[in-house]
C-alpha cells in the first residue's frame, strides 16, 4: 500500500470515523493541530472522511449493504452515482423555478398544478 492508499484506509477506520463524528458534533474538538492552511494530504484525508461518513450513513439506514466495502471501486462508483443523482435533482429544481411566470399586466400566468 502506498501512502495515499493507507490514508484512505485510515479514514475508513472506526477510530477515524468516530473522531470525525465527534468533531462534527462537539465544539472545540479538532482533527488537526492547524485550524487553517490545510496541506494537500489533510485535504485528501478530509474528503475520504466525508466519503466514508456518507457510505456508513447509507448502510445504517439500510439503503445499501456493507458489501460495498469489498472493493474501493464499489465505494467510488456508489458515491459517483449518488452525487450525479444529487446534481440532477438540483438541475430539475432550478428548471422548475424558471417555469413560474408572474407578469404584471393584463395577463398573469399561474404555474400549472399536478
Amino acid at each position: 500500500m502506498n501512502t495515499y492508499e493507507k490514508l484512505r484506509c485510515l479514514a475508513k477506520s472506526n477510530k477515524a470515523q468516530n473522531l470525525f463524528l465527534a468533531v462534527k458534533e462537539l465544539n472545540g474538538l479538532t482533527l488537526f493541530r492547524n485550524s487553517n492552511d490545510l496541506s494537500k494530504l489533510q485535504e485528501l484525508y478530509l474528503s475520504y472522511l466525508y466519503l466514508y461518513d456518507a457510505i456508513n450513513h447509507d448502510i445504517v439506514i439500510d439503503k445499501i449493504s456493507d458489501k460495498i466495502f469489498d472493493y474501493e471501486l464499489y465505494e467510488d462508483a456508489y458515491i459517483l452515482w449518488k452525487n450525479k443523482g444529487r446534481k440532477q435533482v438540483k438541475k430539475e429544481d432550478k428548471n422548475k423555478q424558471k417555469e413560474l411566470h408572474l407578469v404584471v399586466g393584463n395577463t398573469i400566468n399561474f404555474p400549472k398544478r399536478g
Binding site: 493541530r33 471501486l73 464499489y74 456508489y78 449518488k82
Partner: protein, 209 residues
Amino acid sequence: MENRLNEAQRIIKEMEKETELSKVEELIKDNKISFEHDKKQYRVRLLNLSEKEELDTLRRKKFGQLLKDKDILLEKDLIEDYKQRGIDIADLDEQLKKLNAQDIDFQLKLGEAIAKNEGDTIFNNYREQIESVRNQKKEINAQKTLLLQFSLENALLNYVAQVITYLSLDVCENNNWKRMFSNLEEFQTYHDEQLINKAGQYSMYLQYL
C-alpha cells in the same frame, strides 16, 4: 497447531497494518511534517507568502532560460515533431477521452447496481469491465508520459518541485527551526541525496497530490 499459526500470522498482519496507519497519522496531524535523519531533526512545511514570491521569481527566471534553450522543446512542438515521425499524441488523447467516458459510464452503472443491490454477479461484471478500461488507460498514460518527459513544461515542473523542497525544508538547531539552505545552489549541490529525496517526498505530500 496450524490454526494457531494462522491466527498468529493474522494478528501480526493486523499489528503491522496498525503501525503503518499510525505512521500516516503522523503525516496528517499537522500541516508540517517532522522527521529524523542521521540523528538530526528536520521538518517540511507549507510556504509562507514571501517564499511563494521567491518561488514565483525563480520559476519565471527558469522559464525564460528554458525558452532560450533550443535543445528543449515546448510540449506542442514536441507533439508536432512526433507527428512527423508517425506518433500521433492527439490520437492518444482521443483514446484517453473515450476510455475516461467509458470508465465514468461503467462506474455510474455499478453505483446504480449497488444502490439497487443487484447482486455479486453484476457487480463483478462491471468491476472487470472498469478494471479492463483502467488498464488500457494506464498503458496509454505511461506511453504519453514517456514521450513528453523531456518537454519544457516537464522540466519546469521538476525545477519547481526542487525549489519548493529547498524553500520548505527546515533544520532544528538548539531548539530553533531555521531554513536548511540559504540559497538554491547550496541545495542543488548538497551531498546527502537521501535527505533531499525524503524532504522532496514529504513536500509533495504537503503541496501536491
